[in-house]
């Protein structure tokens, strides 16, 4: 599993609040159920969309093929971090 915990927790928390917590604490009004429906669908679809993107990249089967000019630029502008993770 190539996933790191922090983004997973943060995004799940964010869309969990939008899709689960907010509908529960929504104040009573004529449009309460409509708002709940909107929030739930928004939370679910946005979370799923992020999740798919994350999961597709966490165990990549291929890497990016870069032109050597791009490689040189990336090497210089986005330097290697101090400690590389295993």
């Amino acid at each position: 599993m190539g996933a790191s915990a922090l983004p997973l927790i943060m995004m799940t928390l964010l869309w969990g609040i939008v899709g689960i917590v907010l509908p529960i604490i929504l104040p009573k009004g004529p449009h309460r159920s409509l708002m709940q429906c909107i929030l739930i669908i928004t939370g679910a679809s946005c979370w799923l969309f992020w999740l798919c993107c994350y999961m597709h990249q966490m165990n990549p089967l291929i890497g990016p093929m870069l032109h050597n000019r791009t490689l040189a630029a990336v090497k210089q502008l986005w330097p290697q971090p101090g400690a590389t993770s295993v």
Binding site: M1, G2, C53, I62, G63, L71, V74, P81
Partner: protein, 843 residues
């Protein structure tokens, strides 16, 4: 459940109105806008209805008001729109209104005709003045006084004693005396002068002499009000015959002739007389115009509210024409559809109406009905646009699940998957937000442009589409085809300079920890992919997978909604025979497909301690796996640590085989089960020998009507079920594939964006120096225009259309019937709006 999830309950009611209070009650109901009247006299001719005279009177009033409006508009007087909504006046006030309009119309007509007569007079006098001036010139040119001529007396009455004869001056000396010249003076349109002269020459064989001079200033034609140019002419001739001929020709050419005295003294006198008369006329004319202006201004103040009142009266009488007359109790009977939650409000309105007219109260009875009531969705300004999208396909059947609620979010979301670009999303959001913010002033302004009205009506849709596009743009990491690097890329370049220099292209290896960090970019696509040459390969695989995943989620959602419909209408048979096999079929095949996608995402990857079977080289293609599953093809497993496996997990073959079997069983289940149960039920009923179909009959008319078992009906049921099954089974594959348009459009959008950047903006950015800055100014304008026109407008429209199709066909075919008719209440607001739009169109 909120009211928008399902259409509201609508009841058929019968209304007993007393004759006196009918008008006021209908007026109150019109203000309320919650009641839909049924036409109880559908086969009665429009001219035989009871209140046809009143309607005719209203039409007359409307005609008069429109005449007034035309006159006001001609004088360019502004008409105030105070925005107030006057109540429909009582019938007795209608008579007052009629008298008022009649008076105004007559007054205006009189003023107009007076003004026209005055103008005609004015024109004649002006022309006469010009003639007098010009003839002076003619005769002065010719004239030199001969003393002996002054002594001569009149030549055939053309002379005034003591003044010079004009005509004699023209004659050569020898001819003077015995020859009398007559003349005719007049005014003719300038265009006609040449042909006039020619005609005169030909007709009189050159024996007449014409002099003409142009009038410099244009004169106003009284009938049309245009300015025309005219010329003065004077024709000299000898003898009566020629005189007649000349006069005839003048009449033929519509030249106006004026009596011009020959002697200059007479002319001078006449000129002064004309001048005084002209001055008088001027004063009278201006007073007439003032009067007309005053009349129009006072009418303009009230015109709009009068128009509204007349429209309301007409609407009330149209409704009254739909009622039945109850001669016994001297009242009117109406049948109407009323939403059940609003019955109280309607009762209150009726009470108000009867109080106003001071008669017996109206009675409201609720009836039971066999036919299906209209579909009423109570929408507000936000939900109305989405409801409109769904209603364009078909109005929901009475009380079935309303897809519009879910469309509020799924529509912008699916749009955003196809449109995903943060930059374009910002543009769209700003546009939508501006329209929503300036809602009130923009909606009051009546704009004729159809396109603007469409955009403005969909402002909430545009706002939501833009917002979700911003989110998907962040996830796709695409801002005008460039990526943002907010969190640091997970891919690194560890090579040294010589490696880089020696190799044209290098593909980073995810297995190396110094090239791939091991954890992905936290939110969205890694920014390095934007710079990669094989970006499309990676993105294709990603976008196809999300298209399928979201498509199948959307479709399963639709199937589950059908369960809610079945439960509401107590269609247990449908739950058993349609819903369950549908869910099983979709799950076994397509939800399992998405499961495979997730399994492959989790299990297969590069890394140091990944077993061989799970390395990228051995990752099985999901599409091939799926196809083989349906064909029930097994694999020869080569055992050994160095071989790949076509299977992703243990027992896959057997599980898949079972799933295919279940899915195949679902097909005859869907096809045969329901007709069989219906057949058995009708057989039982026939055996019981009663006509009572209470027990087995479903509530709503939307399901098949159950009748005594005849082969004819059985075959109908079978055919219907067959069509339904085939549609579902074949549709499941085609609809799933149809969702791939999410991938296709998002790819097209990204590529267009990239082309625009690379071919247009990059030129400006890469030119150095001041030329670069100068060129950048124009290139940015070109790039911005193309971005808005092609990428935002055209692609936006395209993605909108595709999303609409996905909703209408792929989603709604799973549960939606759409066979209802809309609830159109009798509402003054909608009637007035409709009338206003016809008026604006007619302009």
């Amino acid at each position: 459940m909120g009211s928008l999830f399902r259409s509201e309950e609508v009841a058929l009611c019968q209304l007993f109105l007393q004759s006196e209070s009918a008008y006021t009650c209908v007026s109150e109901l019109g203000e309320l806008g919650l009641v839909q009247f049924r036409d109880l006299n559908p086969d009665v001719n429009a001219f035989q209805r009871k209140f046809v005279n009143e309607v005719r009177r209203c039409d007359e009033m409307e005609r008069k008001l429109r005449y007034l409006e035309r006159e006001i508009r001609r004088d360019a007087i502004p008409m105030q729109d105070t925005g107030d909504n006057p109540e429909a006046p009582m019938p007795r006030e209608m008579i007052d209104l009629e008298a008022n309009f009649e008076k105004l119309e007559n007054e205006l007509k009189e003023v107009n005709s007076n003004a026209e007569a005055l103008k005609r007079n004015y024109l004649e006098l002006t022309e006469l003045r010009h003639i007098l001036k010009k003839t002076q010139v003619f005769f002065d040119e010719e004239g030199h006084l001969w003393p002996w001529q002054a002594e001569r007396d009149g030549c055939a009455g053309n002379l005034d004693g003591g003044s010079v004869s004009l005509t004699q001056n023209l004659l050569p000396d020898e001819a003077k005396g015995p020859i009398q010249l007559g003349f005719v003076a007049g005014v003719i349109l300038r265009e006609r002068v040449a042909s006039f002269e020619r005609m005169l020459w030909r007709a009189c064989r050159g024996n007449v002499f014409l002099r003409q001079a142009q009038i410099e200033e244009p004169l106003e034609d009284p009938a049309t009000g245009e300015q025309v140019y005219k010329s003065v002419f004077i024709i000299f001739f000898q003898g009566e015959q020629l005189k007649l001929r000349v006069k005839k020709i003048c009449e033929g050419f519509r030249a106006t002739m004026y009596p011009c005295p020959e002697a200059p003294a007479d002319r001078r006198e006449m000129a002064m007389g004309v001048k005084t008369r002209l001055d008088d006329l001027n004063t009278v004319l201006s007073q007439t115009q003032d009067h007309r202006h005053r009349v129009l201004v006072s009418a303009a103040r009230n015109l709009r509210s009068w128009m509204l009142k007349v429209w309301k009266i007409k609407a009330i009488y149209h409704s009254l024409n739909m009622f039945n007359i109850d001669t016994i109790q001297n009242g009117l009977i109406a049948e109407c559809w009323i939403p059940v939650p609003d019955l109280e409000t309607v009762q209150l309105a009726l009470r108000r109406g009867t109080e106003k007219s001071g008669s017996l109260p109206a009675i409201l009875n609720r009836l039971s009905c066999v036919e299906s009531p209209p579909t009423f969705h109570r929408t507000n300004k936000f939900t109305r646009a989405f409801q409109g999208l769904i209603d364009s396909y078909g109005v929901a059947s009475y009380r079935e699940m309303n897809p519009a609620v879910y469309t509020i979010i799924t529509f912008p979301f699916l749009f955003a998957i196809m449109f995903g670009d943060l930059g374009h999303g910002i543009i769209m959001t700003l546009f939508g937000a501006w329209m929503v913010w300036k809602e009130k002033p923009l909606s009051v302004k009546k704009v004729d442009s159809e396109i603007w009205n469409i955009f403005f009506g969909g402002r909430y849709i545009i706002l939501l589409m833009g917002t979700f596009s911003m989110y998907t743009g962040i996830i796709y990491n695409d801002v005008f085809s460039k990526s943002l690097n907010l969190f640091g890329s997970s891919w690194h370049v560890p090579f040294n300079e010589s490696t880089i220099r020696d190799n044209r292209e290098i593909m980073l290896d995810p297995k190396q920890p110094d090239q791939y960090e091991g954890t992905p970019y936290p939110i969205g696509l890694d920014p390095l992919w934007q710079l990669a040459a094989n970006k499309i390969n990676f993105l294709n695989s990603y976008k196809m997978k999300i298209s399928i995943i979201f498509g199948i989620v959307h479709m399963m959602f639709g199937i589950i909604l059908s369960l809610w419909n079945h439960r509401f209408f107590n269609r247990r048979l449908n739950v058993l025979c349609e819903f369950i096999p549908q869910v099983l079929f979709m799950s076994c095949l397509f939800v399992y497909l998405t499961l495979l996608v997730f399994i492959k995402w989790v299990n297969y990857g590069a890394g140091e301690d990944v077993p061989l079977v799970l390395t990228p080289g051995c990752a099985p293609s999901i599409l091939i796996t799926f196809i083989n599953m349906v064909l029930m093809k097994g694999y020869e497993e080569a055992k050994g640590p160095n071989s790949c496996s076509a299977y992703m997990y243990d027992g896959q073959f057997y599980l898949q085989r079972m799933m295919v079997v279940v899915a195949v069983i679902c097909v005859p289940w869907m096809l045969v089960a329901k007709p069989y149960f219906l057949y058995r039920a009708s057989k039982q009923r026939a055996m019981l020998g009663t006509g009572g179909v209470e027990g087995a009959m479903e509530e709503t008319p939307s399901t098949m009507p159950v009748q005594p078992a005849e082969d004819h009906d059985m075959s109908e049921i079978l055919i219907h079920q067959g069509i339904h099954t085939i549609e579902f089974v074949l549709g499941s594959v085609s609809h799933t594939a149809s969702y791939l348009r999410l991938w296709a459009l998002s790819l097209a959008h990204a590529q267009l964006s990239e082309v625009l950047w690379g071919m247009v903006l990059r030129i400006g950015l890469s030119t150095a120096g001041t030329t670069g800055g100068f060129a950048m100014y124009f290139i940015f304008a070109a790039w911005a225009t193309l971005t808005v026109v092609i990428l935002v407008l055209m692609e936006g429209l395209s993605a909108f259309l595709h999303t609409l199709r996905l909703h209408w066909v792929e989603f709604q075919s799973k549960f939606y019937e759409g066979q209802g008719y809309a609830f159109v209440p009798f509402s003054f607001d909608s009637i007035l709006e409709a009338n206003e739009s016809t008026v604006t169109e007619a302009k």
